[in-house]
């Protein structure tokens, strides 16, 4: 799961990145509207945290452009003004939720998780796939009620697969959603993470679709 944080205040951006990173997300940051717009257009993000008061290009314009280009990732906007007008304008521009500054990081984390879950069509906070359960609120994974210990990369791969359970997910897609932009990407490492996950999970849960990618097959 990969998240774009767009915030021009460096300390807050760092705090956001640290919080989201700590929750198991791959985090990219942008400090102005132009960079953010470009990143959102070409990269695949599972969610965006977007401050509206940005230098160069403001947040609303960036958001409208993404939506016009058909980018559908959930967007959480941060407003400092607290104007309802701005919130409504944000929602009308295509945002999915808003937070008014100052906010608690736990609140932000909860909103981001809910957005990602909703975007994947999951109504419940817990996403289940057979014996496998991902609690999106805490970020914990369990099999038959037993907590599973995962590295952050393993978690990201599994979280992405479980949000897209039943769908075929290509290696490229996984790569895009697991690494931040400045990370040295190598699609072979995906295979390594999948192999490790398979060892930790009940057999047959992660299927390989030859030439296409992987699929999380949930037993009914």
């Amino acid at each position: 799961m990969r998240i774009l944080v767009v915030e021009d205040e460096p300390t807050l951006a760092a705090q956001l990145a640290a919080t989201l990173g700590g929750a198991g997300y791959a985090v990219d940051t942008a400090a102005n509207g132009r960079d953010a717009g470009y990143m959102g257009e070409v990269e695949a993000f599972d969610a965006v945290v977007l401050d509206l008061g940005l230098p160069i290009v403001d947040g609303l314009t960036v958001l409208k452009r993404w939506r016009a280009l058909g980018r559908t990732m959930p967007v959480l906007i941060l407003t400092a003004r607290g104007d309802w007008h701005e919130k409504v304008a944000g929602i009308d521009a295509g945002a999915d939720d808003y937070l008014t500054k100052p906010f608690h990081m736990e609140e932000l984390l909860a909103r981001v998780r809910a957005l990602i879950r909703r975007a994947a069509g999951q109504a419940s906070a817990e996403i289940a796939c057979g014996p496998l359960v991902l609690d999106t609120r805490s970020g914990r994974v369990s099999v038959d009620g037993q907590p599973l210990s995962l590295t952050s990369h393993e978690f990201r791969v599994l979280a992405y697969l479980i949000h897209h359970a039943g769908e075929v997910v290509s290696r490229t897609e996984l790569t895009e959603h697991i690494y931040a932009q400045d990370y040295d990407r190598d699609s072979n490492t995906i295979e390594v993470f999948v192999a490790r996950l398979r060892k930790k999970l009940p057999p047959g849960l992660i299927e390989t679709v030859r030439g296409l990618g992987y699929r999380l097959a949930c037993p009914q």
């Binding site: 205040e9 300390t11 807050l12 705090q15 919080t19 008061g53 400092a80 003004r81 607290g82 104007d83 309802w84 007008h85 919130k87 409504v88 929602i91 009308d92 945002a95 999915d96 939720d97 808003y98 500054k101 100052p102 906010f103 608690h104 990081m105 609140e107 809910a114 879950r117 909703r118 109504a123």
Partner: protein, 504 residues
């Protein structure tokens, strides 16, 4: 209309001025014309008498006995009709051949009435004694044979045949011949002038009405601005008023600009302050409870929360205070509500919350600033959505004064479940908006409903929020002359009632 000092009606002033002037002019003109006409008639009358006199003198002949006689009758038939009003008479003043007569009486007049017109019948005209020089024309006002006032002219002649003989030739006519046409003329003149004055007065009235019509239009324009139907005075006005209108519009625009700038400044300040507050709060939140700086972190957290509340409160208040007195503000209600409900729909999509706008007539508008309306409604709707189990209903209606104020609700039970909604004391401003926001959440006990309007009071600390929402809602509503309160909702939860001034 109230009349301040130096006030009064412009129309009355213009009318009074014009009428006084018209009246004065007409009276002076009437007097002058009457005088001129009378003089003219008199002069003509005198000239006519003189003509008769000349004719008389021309026909005058002295016979061999020295007795005067007329060679021919005078042309005017009135001389022949008794008491016709036109008379002549010839007196013999001195006669050398009748010396005795002169010596006898010592009187200048030898034989008055030696010759008379038939119209005089047997009366002899008495001539006031002033003995003019020979040939001089003299006019007198005397009394005629029938007692009517008479105008006479006399001339003393000495016939060429008998230079020693002095004859006085007199022609007289009733003064009524002058007075009558003058009186008739003056009557006609009076009627004509009265008609003229009336016509001028009507014209003045029409002129004032037409001339002042732009002022009435200006008044309508101002009323529209005050009632919020328009942001400026529209339309072209006459050159004398247009500068006023432009000045006024400029003031309005400047007001709006000042408010907008205050708002922007407030927003910028909020932005500038809140981002560092967020950073501070987050830094403090990352401190573990067992860390040595835990006390400091808690202090920072508390103070940040306090600062946030203060900033929010004062910003909202100052913004609203700036906008309340600005005329010409009008915010249609429906788009604002729809926008907020779109927001709530999206934000609470994950909870399956049904947020409905049950009733809100298109024409309803708030007499105030859009952002303030959003602030009030946003807080109330957000609050309802936060607490609702699954349903939030919003409805708005016009609230007329004096009416029984029925709740515009689809649930008749609403009125029964409303303990003090209709009994709100205090003066009601003419027409209001009433917005009801119902939720099916847990609601609040009756005694707690007032308390949550206090600053920083929160019914529940678990749900995020600053505790500022409801207090600022009430504060804003009251600044605008409205009110906000909480009641029991027919849906089972809480009903927020917001009453605001209506823009026509």
């Amino acid at each position: 209309m109230s009349r301040g000092p130096g006030g009064g009606s412009l129309r009355l002033r213009l009318l009074a001025g014009t009428l006084v002037w018209v009246l004065l002019t007409v009276v002076v003109a009437g007097w002058a014309l009457g005088r001129m006409f009378a003089e003219h008639v008199e002069r003509q009358f005198q000239a006519e008498l003189a003509t008769h006199l000349n004719q008389l003198a021309a026909h005058l002949a002295i016979d061999a006995d020295g007795r005067p006689g007329l060679g021919a009758a005078l042309s005017d038939p009135r001389f022949a009709r008794p008491y016709s009003g036109l008379y002549w008479q010839i007196d013999v003043l001195a006669d050398a051949g009748a010396e005795g007569a002169r010596g006898q009486g010592g009187d200048a007049v030898g034989r008055p009435g030696a010759l008379r017109s038939r119209s005089l019948w047997d009366v002899v005209l008495a001539v006031p004694r002033d003995l003019p020089a020979d040939g001089q024309l003299h006019a007198h006002d005397t009394e005629g044979p029938d007692g009517a006032p008479l105008r006479m002219i006399e001339q003393v002649l000495r016939p060429a045949e008998r230079p020693d003989m002095a004859l006085r030739v007199i022609v007289a006519a009733n003064a009524a011949l002058i007075a009558e046409p003058v009186a008739r003329f003056q009557r006609l003149l009076a009627i004509a002038l009265a008609l003229l004055a009336a016509g001028l007065a009507v014209a003045a009235l029409v002129q004032v009405r037409v001339g002042l019509r732009p002022l009435a239009r200006l008044r309508d324009g101002l009323a529209a601005v005050r009632e919020g139907r328009s942001g400026a005075i529209d339309g072209r006005f006459p050159a004398e008023i247009q500068p006023l209108v432009e000045e006024f519009n400029a003031v309005l625009a400047r007001n709006a600009e000042v408010v907008a700038r205050a708002r922007t400044h407030a927003g910028n300040l909020a932005h500038a302050v809140k981002t560092p507050l967020t950073v501070l709060a987050n830094a403090a939140a990352q401190t573990r409870d067992d860390a040595p700086e835990a006390a400091l972190a808690r202090l920072v957290r508390d103070q940040v929360a306090l600062a946030r509340t203060q900033v929010d409160y004062h910003l909202a208040r100052s913004r609203a205070a700036a906008a309340v007195d600005v005329p010409g503000l009008r915010t249609p209600l429906r788009p604002v509500l729809e926008g907020l409900l779109r927001l709530m729909d999206k934000v609470h999509a994950g909870r399956g919350l049904v947020v409905r706008l049950c009733a809100c007539p298109e024409e309803l508008a708030f007499r105030g600033e859009a952002q303030d309306l959003q602030e009030m409604l946003g807080n109330l709707v957000d609050n309802a959505c936060k607490w609702a189990a699954g349903r939030v209903e919003v409805r708005a209606a016009r609230l007329d004064p004096g009416a029984a104020q029925p709740h515009p609700t689809a649930h008749p039970a609403g009125a029964a479940a409303d303990p003090h909604g209709d009994g709100e004391p205090g003066a009601r401003t003419p027409a209001r908006l009433r917005i009801l926001i119902d939720d099916d959440g847990p609601g609040l006990a009756a005694d707690a409903r007032e308390a949550v309007f206090g600053r920083g009071v929160r019914a529940d600390e678990r749900t995020p929020g600053s505790g500022l929402g409801l207090s600022i809602v009430r504060e804003l509503a009251r600044l605008y002359g409205g009110d906000a309160r909480l009641e029991a909702s027919p849906l089972g939860g809480l009903r927020a009632v917001l009453e605001l001034p209506l823009a026509r």
